[in-house]
C-alpha cells in the first residue's frame, strides 16, 4: 500500500551512521525475520531485545546461570524463539514472548556460532559450531548431540569425522574454525572444512551428499546463505569472499539429492574403482555452483562476518583488522560500490536488516552503530505541482505560451474523476515483499510495549518559572529527552513484568541525537515565560477562539503558562 509513494530505490545500501544503540557491552546481534526486533548478546551473559522501530529496549533475557559473555544469538524462523550460546559452553533456548527459558544445555566445547533449525515454527534442533572441533547437531529437548562429518576421505568408504588438523607454513595455530550453516529449508547443512571444501550434509541421516571444492583451497571461516536461499557466501583464510549459487530446490531437497545420488550410482556401475569422493564431487557440482569472488586486492584484508542484504542484491564484508571499522559493500555482480568507515574501533559483528537498507555493526567497545541511507529531504513532496530537477535546464517555451486565449485542449487536461465509481475502503492487497515465511504460521513481529512508570529523576532547574502542575520538575536539558515525573506518586501497579525502571535511572541507555531546534526553543521559552505570560494568554483566548475545538474560557488561561512557538 505504501509502494506507490515511497521511493522505488528502497533496495539500496546504507551510507552513514544514523544512530547508535548502547546498553551494556554487546557482543553479537541478530535481527528477527522482519527486522522489527534486534537481539543483542552481552558480555555479562544477558540478552537484550531492542525494539528497532523505537530504538528502545523492549525486553531483557537474563538467566542467573549464565554470566559469561554471549558468543552468538539466533532467532527461530518466525521469531518465537531465541538461541543463545555463551563462553561457559552453554546453549540456552528462550521463548521470546513469555521471556522464559525453555532449555539449557552444556556442551563439551564453547560454541562460537549457534543456529536454530529454520524449518519448524518451534525448533528444538540447533547447530553448534565450536572453535576447534566439528560442528554438532544438538537437540535442545533432550540434550543429545551428534557430530557432523567434516570431511570425506578415501580409505574404505568411511567418513572421517574428526577435523583434520592443518598446520600452516608459518606455524600458526592449529585451531581451525569449522563453519557450518543450515540451508533455507532446514533439511541440509552446509559445512565448510579446513581443506577448503563445502560439504552438503543431510540433517536426519548425517549423510554427506556432495562435496564442492572452493577455489583456492583455503580454510573456510564462514559460510552464509542469503535469505532467499539462492546464494551462498564463503569467507576463506586466503582473504577472499566467494559467491556461489544454490541450484537445489527450496523444498524436498533431500529427495532431489537422493535422485542425483542414484543417477550417479547408475552411471558408475561399470567403473571398477568406486571412488566416493569423485562421486560426491560430481553431485556437488549439481548443487552449488561457483560464481565469483570478492576481495580487496590493494590491502588484502582479512574479512569477518560476510553477509547478504535482505534481498540478496548486495554483499557486505567487514574488515577484520583491529583498529579500523570498515564495511565493504559489493554488488552481487561483482563491483565494489561503497566502503563505510566508522570510528576507529574493531568490528565484532555485522548484520543487514532483512527488509530495509540498514546495517547494524557492533564494535569492540560494545556499541552498536546503525548505518542507514543518508536522509535527503524530498522537497517535491511539499510542492507537488513543481518538478524537481537535478541541474539547471534551459526552458524552451511553446509557440503559444503567451497567447491571450488559452488553448482549447488545456481545459480537458483535468482528469475527469468519476465521482460515482465504487470506492473500496476495506480490502487490502498485500504488496509482494520477499517473505521467508509461507504466511501460514503466525509470526512474532512485535513484543507488547509495556510503559515503564515515571521516576523522579530530574531536579527542578528553573525555580523561577511558574509550574505547570501542582508540583512539577522540568526537564534538565533539551539534549536528553528524558521524561520527568509529574509529582504524583505513581505506583507501578501491574505494569511491567520486565520493567526496566532500574535501568532508566542510570545513564546507560544513552541516545545521541542532534539536539532539535525545537528543544533549543523550548529552553528559550522557559526562560522567557514569566515575562510574556500575560501577552500570550490573551492571544490565546482571542485569536484562537474560533479555531479551537472547544471554548476556552478566559479564566482557564490563568493556569496556562506556555507560550506559542511559531
Amino acid at each position: 500500500m505504501n509502494v506507490p509513494i515511497i521511493d522505488p530505490l528502497q533496495g539500496d545500501f546504507p551510507e552513514i551512521i544514523e544512530d547508535f544503540l548502547q546498553h551494556g557491552n554487546m557482543k553479537c546481534i541478530a535481527f528477527n525475520c522482519h527486522g522489527t526486533l534486534l537481539a543483542a548478546g552481552c558480555s555479562d551473559g544477558s540478552c537484550i531485545i531492542w525494539d528497532f522501530e523505537t530504538r528502545g529496549i523492549s525486553r531483557r533475557l537474563r538467566d542467573s546461570a549464565t554470566i559469561s559473555p554471549i558468543t552468538s544469538v539466533c532467532w527461530s524462523k518466525h521469531g518465537h524463539r531465541l538461541l543463545v550460546s555463551a563462553t561457559d559452553k552453554s546453549l540456552t533456548l528462550w521463548d521470546v514472548k513469555k521471556c522464559e527459558k525453555i532449555a539449557r544445555i552444556t556442551l563439551q566445547h564453547t560454541a562460537l556460532h549457534a543456529r536454530l533449525d529454520p524449518g519448524p515454527v518451534e525448533p528444538t534442533i540447533c547447530l553448534a559450531c565450536p572453535l576447534s572441533s566439528a560442528p554438532l547437531l544438538v537437540d535442545m529437548s533432550d540434550g543429545s548431540s551428534s557430530v557432523l562429518p567434516v570431511s570425506v576421505s578415501q580409505e574404505g568408504n568411511n567418513y572421517i569425522v574428526a577435523p583434520i588438523p592443518r598446520k600452516f607454513s608459518d606455524g600458526s595455530t592449529p585451531f581451525t574454525p569449522t563453519a557450518a550453516t543450515f540451508d533455507r529449508s532446514g533439511e541440509l547443512i552446509c559445512v565448510g572444512n579446513s581443506k577448503g571444501e563445502i560439504l552438503i550434509v543431510g540433517i536426519k541421516t548425517s549423510k554427506v551428499y556432495g562435496i564442492i571444492p572452493v577455489p583456492g583451497g583455503a580454510v573456510i571461516k564462514d559460510i552464509v546463505f542469503c535469505r532467499t536461499g539462492q546464494y551462498v557466501l564463503t569467507n576463506s583464510n586466503d582473504r577472499v569472499i566467494r559467491l556461489f549459487e544454490n541450484l537445489l530446490p527450496h523444498n524436498n531437497v533431500i529427495n532431489e539429492l537422493e535422485i542425483i545420488d542414484s543417477l550417479n550410482n547408475n552411471t558408475n556401475n561399470n567403473v571398477e574403482e568406486y571412488d566416493i569422493v569423485e562421486k560426491l564431487k560430481t553431485t556437488g557440482t549439481k548443487c552449488i555452483k561457483y560464481l565469483r569472488e570478492f576481495q580487496d586486492v590493494v590491502t588484502k584484508i582479512q574479512w569477518k562476518t560476510p553477509c547478504f542484504s535482505g534481498d540478496g542484491e548486495w554483499i557486505l564484508g567487514a574488515s577484520a583488522s583491529k583498529g579500523e571499522h570498515k564495511l565493504y559493500i559489493w554488488e552481487r555482480l561483482g563491483h565494489l560500490v561503497k566502503i563505510l568507515e566508522g570510528p576507529k574501533e574493531a568490528i565484532i559483528d555485522v548484520v543487514w536488516h532483512p527488509e530495509r537498507p540498514i546495517v547494524v555493526s557492533v564494535s569492540v567497545t560494545g556499541t552498536a552503530y546503525v548505518w542507514a541511507k543518508d536522509y535527503v529531504e524530498n522537497w517535491s513532496a511539499f510542492a507537488p505541482d513543481f518538478k524537481e530537477l537535478e541541474e539547471n535546464e534551459e526552458y524552451i517555451e511553446r509557440e503559444d505560451e503567451f497567447d491571450l486565449n488559452p488553448r482549447e485542449d488545456e481545459k480537458e487536461k483535468e482528469e475527469v474523476v468519476d465521482e460515482d465509481a465504487e470506492v473500496d475502503i476495506e480490502n487490502i492487497e498485500e504488496a509482494s515483499i520477499i517473505t521467508i515465511s509461507n504466511g501460514l504460521h503466525e509470526e512474532l513481529r512485535y513484543l507488547p510495549a509495556v510503559p515503564s512508570p515515571d521516576l523522579s529523576e530530574q531536579q527542578d532547574k528553573y525555580p523561577a518559572s511558574p509550574s505547570r502542575l501542582e508540583e512539577s520538575n522540568n526537564s534538565a536539558s533539551p539534549f536528553d529527552n528524558d521524561v520527568v515525573t509529574n509529582g504524583h506518586a505513581s505506583s507501578p501497579m501491574e505494569v511491567a513484568e520486565n520493567s526496566l525502571a532500574e535501568e532508566d535511572g542510570g545513564a546507560s541507555s544513552k541516545r545521541k541525537r542532534k539536539p532539535s531546534a525545537k528543544g533549543m526553543e523550548m529552553q528559550a521559552e522557559k526562560d522567557k515565560r514569566p515575562a510574556t505570560k500575560n501577552q500570550k494568554s490573551s492571544s490565546v483566548s482571542k485569536t484562537s477562539k474560533p479555531r479551537t475545538k472547544y471554548d476556552i474560557d478566559s479564566d482557564q488561561d490563568d493556569e496556562f503558562t506556555d507560550g506559542f512557538v511559531f
Binding site: P4, I5, P384, A449, P451, R468, V495, R547, Y550
Partner: protein
C-alpha cells in the same frame, strides 16, 4: 429521533436501516471533546472532557468503570492502544498522559455520575515535550509508538516503553489538528490549520506527500486513513468532507450537507453493516452518508450543541456521539436489527 432522508440510492443493496437513540449519558461537568470505542471489541467507551477528566464506561451498560484524573487542563483527544490496555490523552496542559486500563471493575451499574473508584493513580507516564496545547494523539498498530500533534505546529513521536520523544517533526505552519497512523504503521497523515494535509514516513519522519497544499484552501480540521490505508478522509472548514485517493491525491468523493466551520469535528467510517461515513456537525446533528452514493442517509438529532466527536463500534452497529458545553452528553445510537 433521527429521520431517514430519501432513498439510499442502492437498488441492489439492502435498504438503509435507520439509527435510533438508545441512551444518553452525562459523565462530565463540561463539554465533552472526544469519545472513542476501544479496539478490538468495543468493550469500553472512553470520553474526554474540558473538565480535565476522562471517563471510562462499559459500552454495553454505560456504567462508569473509572474516572481518570490528573491533567491540569482540559483534554482534547484520547486514543486506545490496540489491545485497549492503555489509553493516551492529549491535553491543554501541553502533556500527553498514558493511563493503564487493566483490572477495571466489572460493570455493576454504580451510577452515571463521576464517582471514581480509584485506589491509586492510573496514570503511568506523563510525556512532556510539546510547548503548547496538545490537540491530537494516536497509537500505532503495534502500540509501541505514540504520535501527538500540538498547537506548537509540531508532531512528536513517543516511545511507549520509555516515554522518550523519539522524533519531533516541524510539520506545519499552524496548529496540527489531526493525526492518524495507517494500518501497517508505515505512514502518518496529519491535518493542520494552515490548510494542508501531509503524509509522513513513520520510520524516518520525512514528508512523503502533501495531499493538500498549505494555503490553497480552507483549514483542514480532520484527516484519517481508510481501513485499508488507500484513501484518506479529510474534513475542511468549508462544510465539506472529502475522500481522497492516497496515491494521486485526487478527491474521489465529496460529502456535504453538514456544517463545519469552527470546530475540529471528528468523522469516521462505519463498516459494520454497509459502508457509511459518519460525522458530527455544528448544527447539533450527527450525519450519516452513504460511502459510494455520497447522499445523506440520516441526520441524528438530539444533541443540544455542536456534535464534536463520533465513534463507531468496531463490531456492532453502534455510534457514540459527544456534544459541547450546552449539551455535555454522550449519546449512543443503534441500528434496529
Amino acid at each position: 429521533m433521527g429521520d431517514a432522508t430519501a432513498g439510499a440510492g442502492a437498488g441492489a443493496a439492502p435498504p438503509y436501516r435507520p439509527y435510533r437513540l438508545l441512551r444518553t449519558v452525562t459523565a462530565h461537568s463540561r463539554a465533552v471533546s472526544c469519545v472513542k470505542f476501544s479496539p478490538p471489541d468495543g468493550r469500553l467507551l472512553a470520553s474526554a472532557s474540558l473538565d480535565k477528566t476522562i471517563a471510562v464506561l462499559c459500552s454495553s451498560t454505560l456504567a462508569t468503570l473509572a474516572t481518570l484524573r490528573g491533567h491540569s487542563e482540559g483534554i482534547s483527544d484520547i486514543a486506545f492502544s490496540s489491545d485497549a490496555s492503555y489509553l493516551a490523552s492529549a491535553s491543554d496542559d501541553a502533556t500527553v498522559r498514558l493511563w493503564v486500563l487493566k483490572n477495571l471493575p466489572n460493570s455493576n451499574p454504580n451510577s452515571n455520575s463521576n464517582s471514581s473508584d480509584e485506589i491509586g493513580d492510573r496514570c503511568v507516564r506523563t510525556l512532556r515535550g510539546h510547548t503548547s496545547y496538545v490537540f491530537c494523539v494516536n497509537f500505532n498498530a503495534q502500540s509501541n509508538l505514540l504520535v501527538s500533534g500540538s498547537f506548537d505546529c509540531t508532531i512528536r513521536m513517543w516511545d511507549v516503553v520509555t516515554g522518550r520523544s523519539v522524533r519531533c517533526i516541524k510539520a506545519h505552519d499552524a496548529p496540527v489538528t489531526a493525526l492518524h497512523f495507517v494500518r501497517d504503521a508505515s505512514m502518518i497523515v496529519s491535518a493542520s490549520h494552515d490548510g494542508s494535509c501531509k503524509v509522513w514516513d513513520a520510520a524516518t519522519g520525512s514528508c512523503l506527500k502533501a495531499l493538500i497544499e498549505p494555503g490553497k484552501g480552507p483549514a483542514v480540521s480532520f484527516a484519517k486513513f481508510s481501513p485499508n490505508g488507500k484513501f484518506v478522509l479529510v474534513a475542511t472548514f468549508d462544510d465539506t468532507l472529502r475522500l481522497c485517493n492516497l496515491a494521486n491525491g485526487k478527491s474521489l468523493k465529496v460529502y456535504t450537507g453538514h456544517v463545519n466551520r469552527v470546530y475540529c469535528i471528528t468523522s469516521t467510517f462505519s463498516v459494520t453493516n454497509g459502508k457509511y461515513i459518519v460525522s458530527g456537525s455544528e448544527d447539533k446533528c450527527v450525519y450519516i452518508w452513504d460511502l459510494q452514493g455520497k447522499n445523506v442517509l440520516q441526520k441524528l438529532e438530539g444533541h443540544n450543541d455542536t456534535v464534536i466527536s463520533v465513534s463507531c463500534h468496531p463490531t456492532q452497529n453502534k455510534i457514540a456521539s459527544a456534544g459541547l458545553d450546552n449539551d455535555r452528553t454522550i449519546k449512543i445510537w443503534v441500528q434496529d436489527a
